[in-house]
């Protein structure tokens, strides 16, 4: 039965044939212009056109539009067609409007008027046309005009099914355009009950609408959960003959099942045990069905079946509560990983990414590592390989990091260009995050540069330099490795940059070997110099001047290069200026001054890797922190985790003001230690400039050594990364620990012996209330046995601008190293927010000061001489080194100040007792400031092993 063929419009057919017969683009345009002129004249002509003619011309215009030509007339004629009482003319009018007229058009008023007439028509096909048009255009004006009529149509008993269906989706469209105008009020429950409607089409459309409503106000529509579960259960358990026409290739109502499963993903697992059991049964049935032999060999059958299955698995992952289901889901996905259908492999990889973030199934996912790696090697489709990369990234942890990174590096050599950059970022992040041995990290990054240098963005090579500078145990190795890498005849420019920087800082560490003696290092670098772009050359010039400081014996050769016309008269201003300044600096100043100016770079402040920020920006959502179990719904505003322990000896600096301004150079607003002596010598530096007579501004010179062009563009502004403020609270008990655009968290705490009382204050900074607010204290890993924490429940609603308080009681059972974590969830404007904040509860909070005389102190000091009992750290000071401040810091840390114990009055000696439930631990401290070198030596001894190290690290961050 050809339902729509019939007598068409001959003129239209002729026109289309003409176009199709056009031999060239020019001929086509000519024919179209001729037709447009014809239609225009017809529309403008005196003769009134009948409906048929208008319809024909409008059809022609539609066709011309489809070919990509602008249509700037005919709109009025289309609007006129709307008021025709003939269905076909009305229909084509509406079609033209919905394809060609935008919501901002002046004609909208007329269109709205026509819709108003049709929507109250007694003829349902007219009502449907009107609804179609509203759903297509969905402007705010329409929302204003119809926000009463459409809900009425939807819930009225008289409306026929097809109109109800359309009304539901129409309302959904208006809800998206103007959420403020659509209020269902007392009709809410009637809308929810559409889930029970007899007509499956109505239920499908209503489920879409309800999901949008639920996202807006979950509490109001909570009732839909049990209805959705029972509807789902009826579908799942029905045989394929029950639902007749809604059975698609032997699968009962697959689209509706998918919709219902999606709807349920907006809520936590049902609280009502009966509903919960029923849902679990449904999910089990769906998983069971996957194991049954297929009822048809047609691909449509397996598609429909698996669409439901994947959605069920997504719901299981979302609920993240039933380990049994999670593991079954994981096994099912594992089967799909080696399925012959590419689509299924793709989806399985994607869903597994989510599974990998659940703590219950992370291990189960890891079992498939080999298959996934294999997929990377053998899949023919780049989209599938991309998913495999995502999954490897998600399943990576400390145990498999080396394997996964190695495989990704191997793959990188042959990877598609489109995904290389992202892969490079991922490898760089994994290598840093899971590095146990930093020599491995350095090797990995240098390999990255070797294999895919073009795709290694600045963030990546800045980061490796930051890490090498902050970790003194890897500096020698890094110097040796870059030296070897640079010996390759052709090496990437990024390698030259990293090599130049690292040798400039740490070249002295390998200079003892005659194969890498100073002059060899210099010649090696200089052999690359002429092949590099100006910014790299600038960096190398800084390396050279640093060499003069490190290796005075090659000063003459380097000065020779600086003096070379290619540099001192280089057309590039930056190179020229550096060459002149460095030459003067090294000729005029004494070695002492030179040594100060060109001193080794100070450690960088600890911060989140800018690489992670870049990946997040590139792929929002896909770049989830692989550690964040269950963090799949966390929005990007959430406080990110700081990078783990990258800078053990990095002195902590508050980053609030300077966090965005990139400093590979450490040029943050709080002056880093090395900058201080340099500025003391400004008098001398100014002399240098006077002599040069160039009038160069001292602020823009390159004297802080190393490439200062970097600090202009070094890191991308990283708005998401909330700085980890926990170190500010080592010596403080009260204050604001976290703040973003939505939420402020304050803390007030007091401690007595091994007990603590902590008040948490949650302030809503927005003008919208938070609902479903929960805050829980999580004690990760070992901490659960080391600390007891009991958090009182907090109100689930936080009004706009209001503050809610939560009391947490804490008991220290035994000593601990990591702080507890506060897990906060709430709904803001219907969007789930999830954040984790470290609570500033450190072991030193349970310290109480102890008094003793010199003799007792020395007696006890001597008794605690086992290596594990002592920890000593020598570190650079953050100026100023003020005695009074130091005293108050030690007191706040929980120790006493013992006067007249140390023979040197500059030194500080303290004692305290650490109270835990199990035992009391004695703690002794000696702090020796050296104001000349701007250094401290801190020694702590404690009667229990390892505590001294923990305390040392905590206290070090304060100086």
């Amino acid at each position: 039965m050809p339902a729509v063929k019939g007598d068409g419009m001959r003129g239209l057919a002729v026109f289309i044939s003409d176009i199709r017969n056009c031999k060239s683009r020019e001929a086509e345009i000519k024919r179209i212009n001729k037709e447009l002129a014809n239609i225009r004249s017809k529309f403008k002509g005196d003769k009134t056109l009948d409906g048929y003619q208008k319809k024909k011309y409008v059809c022609k215009l539609l066709f011309i539009f489809l070919l990509g030509h602008d249509i700037d007339f005919g709109h009025m004629e289309a609007v006129n067609l709307l008021s025709s009482n003939k269905y076909t003319e009305k229909q084509i009018g509406y079609l033209f409007i919905s394809v060609l007229v935008s919501a901002s058009s002046d004609l909208m008023k007329l269109v709205v008027q026509s819709i108003k007439n049709d929507i109250v028509s007694r003829n349902p096909v007219h009502v449907c046309l009107a609804l179609q048009c509203i759903a297509n255009i969905g402007s705010r004006d329409m929302a204003e005009a119809f926000n009463r009529d459409i809900p009425k149509l939807l819930v009225s008993g008289d409306t026929i099914d097809s109109v109800k269906q359309s009304a539901a989706l129409c309302l959904l469209r208006l809800l998206r355009t103007a959420p403020d105008l659509i209020q269902l009020g007392e009709w809410a429950s009637r809308v929810i009950h559409l889930l029970n409607d007899q007509h499956m089409g109505v239920v499908t459309a209503a489920a879409s609408l309800i999901e949008a409503l639920v996202k807006r106000s979950p509490e109001e529509y909570k009732g839909c959960v049990s209805l959705a579960v029972s509807r789902l259960s009826r579908i799942v358990t029905s045989s394929y003959t029950d639902l007749q026409d809604y059975t698609y290739y032997f699968v009962p109502a697959p689209w509706l099942s998918v919709k219902l499963l999606r709807l349920l993903q907006n809520y936590p697992p049902p609280e009502d045990p009966a509903v919960r059991t029923r849902l679990t049964e449904c999910l089990e049935t769906i998983l069971n069905k996957a194991q049954e032999p297929p009822k048809s060999k047609k691909v449509q059958h397996s598609n429909a079946k698996n669409a439901v299955l994947f959605e069920a698995i997504n719901l299981i992952i979302h609920m993240d509560s039933d380990p049994n289901l999670l593991v079954r889901a994981c096994n099912q996905l594992g089967q799909f990983l080696s399925h012959r259908e590419t689509n299924l492999r793709y989806l399985a990889l994607e869903s597994m990414c989510l599974l990998a973030t659940s703590e219950f199934s992370h291990e189960a996912v890891k079992k498939h590592q080999e298959t996934v790696i294999n997929a990377l090697k053998t899949e023919r489709d780049v989209s599938v390989r991309q998913r495999a990369v995502d999954l490897l990234y998600a399943m990576c942890d400390r145990t498999n990091a080396e394997d996964i990174v190695a495989e990704m590096l191997t793959y990188l050599e042959t990877a598609d260009y489109s995904i290389r950059e992202e892969m490079v970022l991922k490898v760089a992040i994994l290598a840093e995050k899971y590095a146990v041995d930093y020599t491995w990290y350095v090797d990995t990054i240098l390999n990255l540069i070797r294999l895919a240098g073009d795709y290694v963005s600045e963030e990546v090579w800045y980061r490796v330099i930051q890490i090498v500078i902050n970790r003194d145990d890897v500096q020698g190795y890094a110097a040796k490795t870059v030296f070897e890498a640079l010996q390759a005849p052709a090496c990437h420019e990024n390698m030259v940059k990293v090599g130049g920087y690292i040798l400039g800082e740490f070249g002295n560490l390998i200079a003892g070997d005659h194969r890498s003696s100073p002059i060899v290092q210099f010649q090696l670098l200089h052999s690359k110099y002429h092949l590099c772009i100006p910014s790299t050359r600038g960096l190398l010039l800084s390396t050279y001047v640093k060499f003069i400081n490190l290796f005075p014996e090659i000063k003459a050769q380097i000065q020779e290069i600086l003096r070379n016309d290619n540099n001192i008269r280089n057309p590039d201003v930056e190179i020229q200026q550096r060459a002149i300044e460095y030459l003067q600096l090294t000729s005029v100043t004494s070695t002492d001054v030179l040594a100060t100016v060109l001193e080794e770079m100070p450690p960088f402040p600890e911060r989140e890797s800018s690489i992670l920020a870049k990946l997040k920006k590139k792929k929002p959502g896909a770049a989830e922190d692989p550690d964040a179990a269950g963090g799949k719904s966390s929005p990007p505003t959430v406080a990110s985790k700081p990078m783990p322990e990258i800078s053990v000896n990095a002195s902590y600096q508050p980053q609030g003001a300077s966090g965005g301004s990139a400093d590979l150079l450490g040029l943050s607003s709080s002056a880093p230690p090395a900058a201080a002596p340099a500025s003391n010598d400004t008098g001398c530096l100014v002399d240098v400039f006077d002599m040069l007579g160039t009038g160069a501004s001292p602020t823009s010179n390159g004297l802080t050594a190393a490439a200062d062009e970097n600090y202009k563009s070094a890191t991308t502004p990283d708005l998401e990364a909330g700085p980890d403020k926990i170190h500010e609270f080592v010596c403080r008990n009260n204050g604001v620990i976290f703040e973003n655009d939505l939420l402020q968290i304050g803390i007030k705490s007091e401690y007595k012996q091994n007990l603590g009382r902590v008040g948490m204050f949650y302030g809503n900074k927005t003008s919208v209330p938070f609902s479903n607010f929960t805050a829980e204290v999580s004690l990760p890993g070992e901490l659960s046995s080391q600390l007891m924490a009991q958090a009182k429940p907090v109100d689930s609603q936080v009004e706009a601008g209001a503050q809610k308080q939560q009391l947490v009681n804490i008991e220290c059972v035994t000593d601990f190293t990591v702080p507890p974590v506060l897990v906060i969830n709430f709904l803001y404007n219907g969007a789930q927010q999830h954040m984790t904040v470290k609570m500033p509860v450190m072991v030193n909070k349970f310290l109480e000061p102890a008094e003793m005389d010199a003799a007792t102190f020395f007696q006890r000091w001597k008794n605690l001489s086992a290596p594990a009992q002592e920890c000593q750290k020598i570190f650079k000071a953050k100026p100023p080194m003020d005695g009074e401040q130091t005293k108050s810091k030690l007191l706040c840390f929980g120790l006493s100040i013992l006067e007249d114990v140390d023979p040197n009055p500059e030194n500080f000696v303290s004692a305290g007792v650490l109270h835990t439930r199990n035992q009391q631990i004695g703690v002794l401290l000696r702090l020796e400031p050296n104001s000349q070198a701007q250094m401290y030596r801190l020694t702590i001894r404690a009667s229990k092993d390892a505590i001294s190290t923990t305390l040392c690290e905590l206290l070090e961050s304060q100086f």
Binding site: V4, D50, S166, G201, R262, N303, S383
Partner: protein
Amino acid sequence: MIKAVLVFNNHGKPRVSKFYQHFPEDTQQQIIRETFHLVSKRDDNVCNFLEGGTLIGGSDYRLIYRHYATLYFVFCVDSSESELGILDLIQVFVETLDKCFENVCELDLIFHVDKVHYILQEMVMGGMVLETNMTEILTRIEEQSKIEKSEAGIAGAPGRAISAVKEMNLPQKIKDIKLPDLPSIGSLKF
């Protein structure tokens, strides 16, 4: 949500384009070209999903497509849609077209672009799936063509009269004209 439904042939000529979110005309054409570029270079037996082009919203959007003989059917959807579900929806769309046009081919879509839109309207509305049951969709389309026929019967007459006058191929037509029998002279009365 479905953001766009695009149908184009193996050479990238658009046959149907329907956007459920407003884009300016030239952007619409660019999206069609970009999508064609992304989809057409893929082998036939690779997977049916890929990340959307930059114009339509990048990696937050998926292109889900099927290739039938000379035509690509592409649905661009956001993450709230089930990929396999949409793949089946494309199949329902094509099967419905096939039923309506009897062995649908590219030419049917070209010459009846309005009808194709009406069929699509019965399945997708405002970017959401409206109806998936083919019998139901066909019933509604049939209903429409019944109305069309009845309207063409009464009021369409003048229109058809005009198009008949415009028939250019008159000689051929004349051959086919059967002259009516003349009334018998005998019965005439003067």
